[in-house]
Amino acid sequence: MSDDILGTEQVSKVYQQGEVKVRALQDVSVQMKSGEFIVIVGPSGSGKSTLLNILGGMDVPTSGRVIYAGRSLAELDESELTDYRRNEIGFVFQLYNLLSALTARENVQLATELVNSPLELDEVMHKVGLDDRMDHFPSQMSGGEQQRVAIARALAKNPGVLLCDEPTGALDYETGIKILGLLRELNRDYGTTVAIITHNTAVADMGDRVLRMRSGEIVEQRENDDPVPAERIVW
């Protein structure tokens, strides 16, 4: 399909741990269309993070290929792979992973300084609702605020794809809803392709497409013609 932006072909990932082999992913093929909002669900240990890491160029598959805009990541050398992470991907971590020595603004600058055409810093901060928290250090912010900084950091690079590994995992219900709403809004306003991992099946309803994983395999792919807005999700 012409508007495929990022996808995998028969990707497997095997972790060798001493004598034991752990098959984290098994022949996973998935395509993300440009501008899509994808939700990945599945039980713990089913390979969600592994898949996201491989998509984000942070880990390499044991076999199979990752295709971005028609090119296989396997063809990229180390510096091209870094460029890929730098320019094409935004990553949001479950535990925020902000740099404690830097303020909210500076954590975002950390990303904007890297790329040629970042989004306007103030605009992004406003978008995530942190205009008045710009000069706070992470230790002076709540978990939700920190996660919003992390999202701002990922988003400010103006990446083609935003990958979020359980962005609401550590947040309370209401804050989680707000974050999800924010991600959906960004997806709509900037046309950023978004993939989020969640444990929560209720969240699945808000995606354009839902991938269900079990034991390293995609066991179900479901198109969602009428995604539920975040604020109407209940769990």
Partner: protein, 783 residues
């Protein structure tokens, strides 16, 4: 990378103490580099210029009295450029005190070319006048124009002080190697006089008894020495001395060498220590920044950028230290150079020229040490992958350790905490090895200055309290008979007096040849004792000879070997003598034999050149009027000189002990705290499980006690080997033969000091562990 740089500054604030310590050490390194090198180079240049300008001779020959023309004729030798005769004698001077200071009188020819003194004040001495070396004049409050008496063979001769002066021959105002550490400017002086006048008052009118030479271009000192020996052997030559063996020059050069060695080693030692701390600092930073590094990489920062981020710490510290150090260093060069000049050398100060190339050297050294270790420590970031941002640091694989596998019985017998500590230790061998090495290194740093003290102590006190147990050594102007000596003894009411015969000899074995004084003592001599290399007492053998360690090495002889000996005193006849024992001797090189053996060689029976004396009285005072005594050497006085110097050495060593202690402490502290920081999360989990701080502390304590014990075991031989290497490389010459010391006390002190450091460090660790914030540790994912 502005945000990253900002992070750099802010995180640096967390380690500001360590960073400051590193900067200070690097600053010291560069100060020492700039100051020591510049001072050394300038001193050396000034010295060479001065020698050149005053035509310091390359070769000195002691002769039986000869006409001056005899020496002048020697300038026709190819190897010799200039030759000049002179008159030298040891006399005394009445300066109005009860003791007559010894005076080394040098009569130089009018318009002489060699060894020209530089007049500081006054005019060159003519008949009836002397010029005094500044130090002696000042020590005795003598001024130009003063009248003093020379005491020559018991007679007083009135002279006027015409000038104070410096001389290339006596930059360091000593005439005998025994005084090398303790020049006594008050009781031993040097005077210059007109040659004719000096010869007259010494009763050697129209004659000379020494010659000095400069070497012609294209020939070495050795060539010239051989030529002079060939030409003069059997024609009145007593002894030849090269410039290298001339006592003042030897002392000056010894100090120069020491300074040069220091200028090379001190900055490197400082930098190495800084490097060790940087290494530990960065290693810890990278380890605890693992998730951050993952984030940076996931965000798109390249390996190079991340590496550079950490490298910048090292470079910034190095840069700050380098700029500070070189700045301060350059300001200090002139005052330090002037101080050293005035302190050590009786020589007009010449010039200071800064060596700007040092800035490049200093910069490069700092870059290599700081950048190199920075790179080494930070290269860990390369192993960290972006996905690490999402994973807690992988717990190191749990494994059964060696002890468990091979000695299960022993393992089962250990207490739970010991087992827990051992597991930790086996799991992180690198950290444990670092701790052991830290202790060993700290130990070496601390034990060295203690050793140094011990060595100086050994040199002086071993020689003069163990071996040369007489109070005075008398050297006669003319050989005296046994009856004359007995009479002297009776008259001066001296307790024990042992006559000796001492002449310079040429000693050879195969192709190896050395010049060395040989001293003959009575067989049952009690005033001088000997010890062989194994520490056993040895006495003067009736036949054969005792050879000191240095000469044994230089000639390649062992007990039982036979050596050939000849001397002007034997009319150059050669004798073969058996080496009986190799004996210990720290200052100077002398061989010992019996009266009988010596008399057989010289063919002279009842003629002694001096005597060793034991007497509680001040013989310098009592014997001051006795005619035939040229020199009275007081052991007491030498020891006092040493005592004074020991004060300086103790002060110096105390500084070294403190410095070594600071470094040792810094190393131990860092190793221990790195160990804690790495494990805060683990410890806090234990705390959450219900262990108290004490239990956690016990684990760390166990580890550190073990590391300290092993470190001390390793440090003892390491320290010993270091000092032995230093001694063997630098401190063994004909004049000074440093013993390889073994000082259990040094090791005891060092052990105690290191243990005390460890105790303080463990105290600090206790506070760190007690204050582990459970919440902070458990939410440590936030970096």
């Amino acid at each position: 990378m502005r945000s990253l740089d900002r992070r750099l500054l802010r995180t640096a604030a967390e380690s500001k103490l360590q960073i400051m310590a590193v900067v200070v050490i690097i600053t010291l390194a560069l100060i020492s580099l700039v100051v020591l090198t510049n001072v050394y180079e300038n001193l050396n240049q000034s010295l060479l210029d001065y020698y050149e300008r005053q035509s310091f001779a390359h070769l000195f020959a002691e002769l039986t009295p000869q006409p001056p023309e005899y020496v002048e004729g020697l300038s026709s030798l190819r190897e010799i450029e200039q030759a000049e005769g002179r008159v030298v004698a040891d006399v005394r001077m009445d300066v109005g005190r009860d003791i007559y200071p010894e005076l080394h009188l040098v009569g130089l020819p009018q318009d002489g070319l060699l060894n020209r003194p530089q007049i500081v004040e006054g005019s060159p001495p003519t008949r009836g006048e002397v010029a005094l070396l500044t130090g002696f004049a000042e020590a005795n409050g003598l001024q130009v124009g003063d009248e003093v008496d020379l005491i020559v063979r018991g007679e007083a001769i009135s002279v006027e002080v015409s000038a104070t002066a410096s001389s290339p021959e006596f930059l360091y105002p000593v005439t005998d190697i025994q005084q090398i550490f303790a020049p006594d400017q008050k009781n031993r002086g040097i005077a210059l006089a007109d040659m004719g006048f000096a010869a007259d008052i010494l009763g050697k009118s129209g004659q000379i008894n020494e010659a000095s030479f400069t070497v012609a271009e294209g020939y070495s000192q050795q060539d010239a020495e051989d030529a002079v020996e060939d030409a003069m052997e059997g024609h009145g030559l007593l002894r030849v001395l090269t410039r290298d063996d001339q006592v003042s020059n030897y002392s000056v050069m010894l100090r120069m060498e020491q300074m040069e060695d220091l200028s090379h080693s001190v900055p490197v030692v400082f930098l190495a220590i800084a490097a060790v701390i940087i290494y530990m600092l960065l290693l810890r930073m990278v380890e605890s920044d693992r998730p951050t590094i993952g984030v940076l990489k996931a965000t798109g920062y390249t390996d190079r950028e991340v590496l550079l981020h950490y490298l910048k710490y090292a470079l910034a510290m190095g840069g700050a230290g380098a700029v500070l150090g070189m700045g301060i260093g350059h300001l200090l060069v002139r005052p330090v150079a002037e101080f050293v000049f005035l302190q050590f050398f009786d020589m007009p100060f010449l010039h200071v020229q800064l060596n700007w190339a040092l800035i490049a050297v200093g910069g490069a050294l700092t870059l290599v040490f700081c950048g190199g270790t920075g790179l080494l420590a930070a290269r860990g970031v390369l192993r960290i992958v972006p996905a690490d941002a999402m994973r807690p640091p992988a717990p190191p694989a749990g494994k059964r350790n060696l002890l468990e596998v091979y000695l299960p019985r022993l393992w089962d017998g250990l207490t739970f905490f010991t087992r827990l500590s051992l597991r930790q230790l086996f799991r992180n061998k690198k950290r444990f090895v670092l701790a052991v090495l830290g202790v060993a290194f700290a130990y070496t740093l601390v034990v060295l200055p203690f050793y140094l003290l011990g060595i100086v102590d050994a040199i002086a006190f071993e020689q003069y309290e163990e071996f040369e147990v007489y109070d005075y050594a008398l050297i006669f102007d003319q050989p005296a008979s046994e009856s004359a000596i007995s009479e002297l003894r009776r008259e001066a009411d001296i307790g024990i007096m042992e006559p000796m015969i001492q002449y310079p000899f040429t000693v050879s074995k195969g192709w190896r040849e050395e010049s060395v004084p040989v001293r003959a003592l009575p067989e049952g001599a009690s005033l001088q004792r000997f010890e062989n290399e194994r520490g056993q007492r040895v006495s003067i053998p009736s036949s054969g000879i005792l050879v000191c360690e240095y000469m044994a090495g230089a000639l390649g002889v062992e007990p039982g070997d036979r050596i050939r000996m000849s001397s002007q005193a034997t009319d150059e006849r050669e004798y073969t003598v058996e080496v009986r024992e190799v004996i210990r001797q720290t200052i100077g090189s002398v061989m010992y034999t019996s009266h009988e053996t010596m008399q057989k060689m010289t063919g002279q029976g009842d003629a002694y050149t001096g005597a060793l004396v034991q007497s509680p009285d001040d013989l310098r005072y009592r014997l001051r009027e006795v005619g035939n005594i040229g020199l009275i050497m007081s052991v007491q006085q030498i020891l006092e000189g040493f005592g004074e110097m020991m004060g300086v050495v103790i002060a110096l060593c105390s500084i070294l002990v403190i410095l070594g202690g600071v470094f040792a402490f810094a190393i131990l502290f860092n190793v221990a705290t790195v160990g804690i920081t790495e494990r805060v999360r683990e410890f806090s989990s234990m705390r959450v499980l219900g262990y108290d701080s004490k239990a956690v502390y016990r684990i760390v304590l166990h580890e550190n006690v073990l590391a300290t014990a092993l470190g001390l075991l390793l440090g003892a031989p390491l320290g010993h080997m270091t000092i032995v290497a230093v001694i063997e490389a630098f401190q063994r010459t004909e004049m000074l033969y440093m013993p390889v010391p073994f000082h259990p006390v040094s090791h005891l002190f060092a052990t105690a000091l290191v243990c005390a450091f460890v105790a303080v460090v463990m105290g600090a660790v206790w506070f760190r562990i007690k204050n582990i914030d459970l919440l902070e540790a458990l939410s440590a994912r936030m970096t």
